[in-house]
């Protein structure tokens, strides 16, 4: 349903346009939860924002069911706003401090002029039930809610207009560990029950393992590896994916700190020839500095990786 083709997004930094998303291809199918994983600054949130039209690509297209999202106008745009909804990272900032839960949930219905007054009230009650919130919370304001409750309200608000595609931008990063699990379960349930497509942005592969159907790993504006979750987790091929997996704290492993990735991702202004990961890569060789690796599909049709070492082995 959602299709990104060679999408490039750039921001003006220090007087020139600097690409932060570089030629990204991505697709989300109905009923599928695709996780997009990477460090902060890699461009994953920009992709989410581009899909919901908060940013515009300078090249490439985002399309929903074949229609170019950024060319939509009038009624078609209105319909798109209903079809695609987003849950933001920090529910405290994405909800109005002055609105009660009931008003926040009714707001999208007002905006899209859906239903009568009574129908809206029923829908609000329905939504509270859908996200497993106590109906007694309807009169509360965000500051009277816990972090987990706030994020449930934000999810309910996104679902109010019955979208087909849900974009989640690190929805549990701002929450405590035990609360994270409950919100993640809720998101997965909703995706399954309502048959939604879901693009889930995360920086933590541990979260994604039980949640996602497919994972795409992003580094410095590009997708470097994409595979069904289990394949990616158990047989990661890109050295960056392997490093992300090694960084996850494990209870069963040796308690001493795991060997970690050296250094940090270079900023968008730095110019790097060849593979963007080569300065930090333990497996880099001379070709990695000279030439940028292309995404090569295989061995299964659902898997692809952009790494010279892997591509060598495949060939």
């Amino acid at each position: 349903m959602l299709e990104l083709t060679a999408v490039r997004v750039a921001f003006p930094i220090a007087g020139r346009l600097v690409p932060v998303v570089r030629d990204v291809d991505l697709s989300v199918r109905p009923g599928e939860l695709l996780a997009l994983v990477g460090e902060s600054g890699c461009g994953k949130s920009t992709i989410a924002r581009t899909v919901v039209r908060l940013e515009r690509p300078i090249a490439g297209t985002v399309s929903l069911d074949g229609a170019d999202v950024h060319a939509l106008r009038g009624d078609a745009l209105r319909a798109y706003r209903q079809a695609v909804q987003m849950v933001f990272q920090d529910p405290f900032q994405s909800l109005s401090p002055r609105q009660t839960v009931a008003r926040a949930l009714a707001e999208p219905l007002h905006i899209h002029r859906i239903g009568s007054w009574a129908a809206r009230r029923r829908r609000v009650a329905e939504l509270l039930e859908l996200v497993e919130l106590d109906p007694g919370l309807a009169g509360r304001r965000p500051r009277e809610l816990s972090g987990g409750q706030r994020q449930r309200v934000a999810i309910a608000r996104a679902l109010a207009v019955r979208p087909r595609l849900l974009i989640c931008d690190e929805p549990v990063t701002a929450l405590d560990a035990p609360v994270q699990a409950t919100v993640l379960n809720l998101i997965r349930d909703l995706v399954d029950r309502l048959g939604l497509g879901c693009l889930f942005i995360a920086h933590d592969l541990a979260v994604v393992r039980q949640l996602a159907d497919r994972v795409a790993v992003m580094y410095r504006g590009r997708i470097v590896e994409s595979a069904p979750t289990l394949r990616l987790m158990d047989a990661a091929r890109h050295p960056y994916t392997q490093a992300l997996l090694a960084a996850v704290p494990r209870l069963d492993a040796d308690p001493s700190p795991a060997p970690t990735l050296r250094g940090e991702m270079p900023g968008p202004l730095a110019s790097i020839d060849g593979c963007a990961f080569n300065p930090r890569c333990p497996q880099a060789f001379d070709r990695c500095e000279a030439e940028r690796p292309q995404m090569i599909v295989g061995p299964c049709p659902d898997e692809s990786v952009a790494c010279h070492r892997q591509n060598q082995e495949l060939a």
Partner: protein, 612 residues
């Protein structure tokens, strides 16, 4: 220093009283004034204050009290008109600039800047000089230079709204600009505009009196305070009662509105006091021993948030205090250092070496902060002064810690940055915090905390705001530092998996108490308390089968905590009757491992053998 909240509120009310009196006097003048303010009574000319005329009469025999009250009315009406025009013009210009951005914003800013450079009274004089007297001209004259503060206020709010996640959320929901503007942006502006308007009243009243005094204000015989002062001038020697009331009234209104402004300004100051203390007081008795906290209680307004927490950290050991937000884990480590709001009541013991940090005044706690105890906070970027370079920040900390000769601070700073693993410290000392990544800011924060060669390093969620790969780096750094310096480390975290990675011991905190405490490996592999087990179950397992559900704890009960019961009982799957009536004490379950739970299965199951 921060005053208590009650004192601040009292002062705000006191400042607001004269303004309230002014508004009441103006509004009720026709009802409460004993005489007609412009009715002459030459028989009673220049009468002294008496029962008949409480404030006396002027040269035309007009009652001064009535004139004062009606004068308030005139000022009030004009002030309201000036404010109405200023607020409307200001909010429209500021909101247009802030909301639209781009060239409208530049035009709005230019207009504000130009207007703010104009001296308002001179502009008013010029306008009244050209257009003549009259209330309409007065309003025009004062509004012309009165709108920029409101424009700035509106612009500021709208710009921050335009950059907020909330604005993004509304756009994604499909809200029109019109709706965002009238349903969300403007209502949010009402409170600050009202506050600022109450402050402006003083200036408007003063300006009116000034213009009337120059004969450009409200024309006589209508009563007006400035006009009353001119009328009183010839009689300053013989009839002082004429000049005093209007003079005092003007002074009171102006003073009150200025004090109110001051009050609002200081109210907004953040209450966090993490700054380095100025006083230097070296303390003896720093023989390395464990840092012991015992029976620590912290209460706000009588409500206990930390209730009898105890823990100990030996040199070179790492203790992790784990719990959800609001469990008291942060307070239990920062309270002994005096890093809590002044309204908190803190009791208990916190023994470092031979000193009880809670056994005396704030000087004891100030003396150890930044020296014997270092603190690393979650939001490193927010905790670093944005206008100082990394080098300047570290030099300050080194100087504060003492022991380094003057002029050699920079060398020590470089050494500390190297220890904290900041790449290229020689060039980074010239960088400002905003140009560093989150991980680098955290390294600078750690370097700052190391300046005093602390015996104890407290790290409060040092990695929660960081990427997983950076988290792993910071964890490794903390573990290395602990080994190389021999300091004790206290890690505060909501993530038990991260805690297990670096800590020797784990203390699990729930509702202001420690419910389980023991060696990290023990706690993680053989948890006794059901809450600890719940925390562990909630950790996403690297072995989990994709598509299975995350294991969760039952949600927290919003209900108030029952006294004399286990706080976890309402969420606990194995709670028995006893749990609801009696609070379990910490009891040993294995060597060095304690837990506070009444219901203990006879055979402890190893974790992970429950079905998913």
């Amino acid at each position: 220093m921060t005053a208590s909240g009650a004192g601040r509120r009292r002062r705000t009310v006191i400042c607001a009283l004269p303004l309230l009196g002014f508004v009441m006097a103006g509004a009720l003048a026709p009802v409460i004034a004993p005489y007609d303010p412009i009715a002459n009574d030459l028989m009673a000319s220049l009468a002294r204050p008496s029962v008949e005329h409480l404030l006396g009469t002027d040269q035309l025999g007009r009652d001064q009290l009535s004139r004062l009250l009606y004068g308030a009315q005139a000022s009030l009406i004009l002030a309201a008109a000036v404010l109405a025009v200023s607020v409307t013009v200001g909010v429209v210009i500021g909101a247009a600039g802030g909301f639209l951005g781009g060239w409208p914003d530049r035009v709005a800013l230019w207009l504000m800047d130009v207007t703010l450079t104009l001296p308002s009274l001179i502009v008013a004089l010029a306008i009244l000089g050209v257009r003549g007297h009259g209330s309409a001209n007065l309003v025009l004259a004062l509004s012309l230079t009165g709108w920029p503060p409101f424009a700035r206020l509106a612009r500021g709010r709208f710009v921050s709204l335009r950059r907020s996640a909330y604005f993004d959320a509304l756009q994604v929901l499909g809200a029109s600009r019109f709706r965002i503007l009238f349903q969300h942006a403007l209502p949010a502006l009402a409170a600050p505009v009202l506050v600022y308007a109450s402050i402006e009243i003083g200036f408007i009243v003063l300006s009116l009196a000034f213009l009337s005094f120059l004969g450009l204000g409200i024309p006589p015989p209508e009563p007006e305070w400035g006009q009353m002062l001119i009328d009183a001038r010839p009689y300053l020697d013989s009839a002082l009662w004429l000049a005093l009331p209007p003079g005092l009234a003007i002074a009171a209104v102006v003073l009150a509105s200025n004090l109110l402004a001051e009050q609002f300004a200081t109210d907004d100051l953040p209450l966090v006091r993490l700054g380095l203390p100025r006083r230097r007081a070296r303390m003896n008795g720093s023989t390395a021993g464990p840092y012991r906290v015992e029976e620590l209680a912290v209460a706000f307004a009588g409500r206990k948030v930390v209730d009898g927490i105890g823990y100990r950290v030996a040199p070179g050991r790492a203790l992790a205090i784990v719990g959800e937000s609001g469990s008291g884990k942060t307070l239990s480590t920062l309270a002994p250092l005096g890093l809590v709001d002044a309204t908190a009541q803190v009791s208990g013991r916190a023994v470092l070496g031979q000193v009880d940090l809670l056994g005396g005044g704030p000087a004891i706690r100030e003396a150890v902060r930044g020296r014997r105890v270092g603190v690393v906070l979650q939001d490193a970027r927010g905790a670093l002064n944005p206008v100082r370079t990394v080098g300047a920040l570290l030099d300050d900390a080194v100087r504060h810690a003492g022991g380094v000769p003057r002029g050699l601070e920079r060398a020590r700073s470089l050494e500390l940055l190297t220890m904290a693993g900041l790449p290229e410290p020689e060039s980074q000392v010239y960088a400002y915090p905003h140009s560093l990544s989150g991980g680098m800011c955290q390294r600078v924060m750690i370097a700052l905390a190391l300046a005093g060669e602390p015996e104890i390093l407290i790290a409060d969620e040092p990695t929660s705001a960081l990427d997983v790969t950076t988290q792993a780096q910071i964890h490794a750094l903390l573990a290395d530092l602990r080994e190389s310096t021999g300091m004790g480390l206290i890690l505060i975290s909501h993530d038990i998996a991260a805690a297990a990675r670096i800590a020797d011991d784990i203390a699990v905190c729930y509702a202001g108490r420690i419910v389980e405490n023991g060696p990290a490996a023990d706690v993680v592999s053989r948890p006794d308390h059901p809450y600890t087990r719940g925390l562990l179950d909630a950790v996403p397992s690297p072995m989990a089968v994709p598509g299975t559900r995350f294991r969760t704890l039952p949600p927290a009960e919003p209900a108030r905590r029952k006294v004399g019961a286990c706080a976890f009982a309402p969420r606990c799957a194995r709670a028995a009757k006893r749990c609801h009536v009696e609070e379990p004490p910490l009891e040993p379950v294995a060597p060095g491992h304690t837990s506070a739970c009444w219901v203990r299965p006879t055979v402890a199951r190893p974790i992970g053998d429950e079905g998913a």
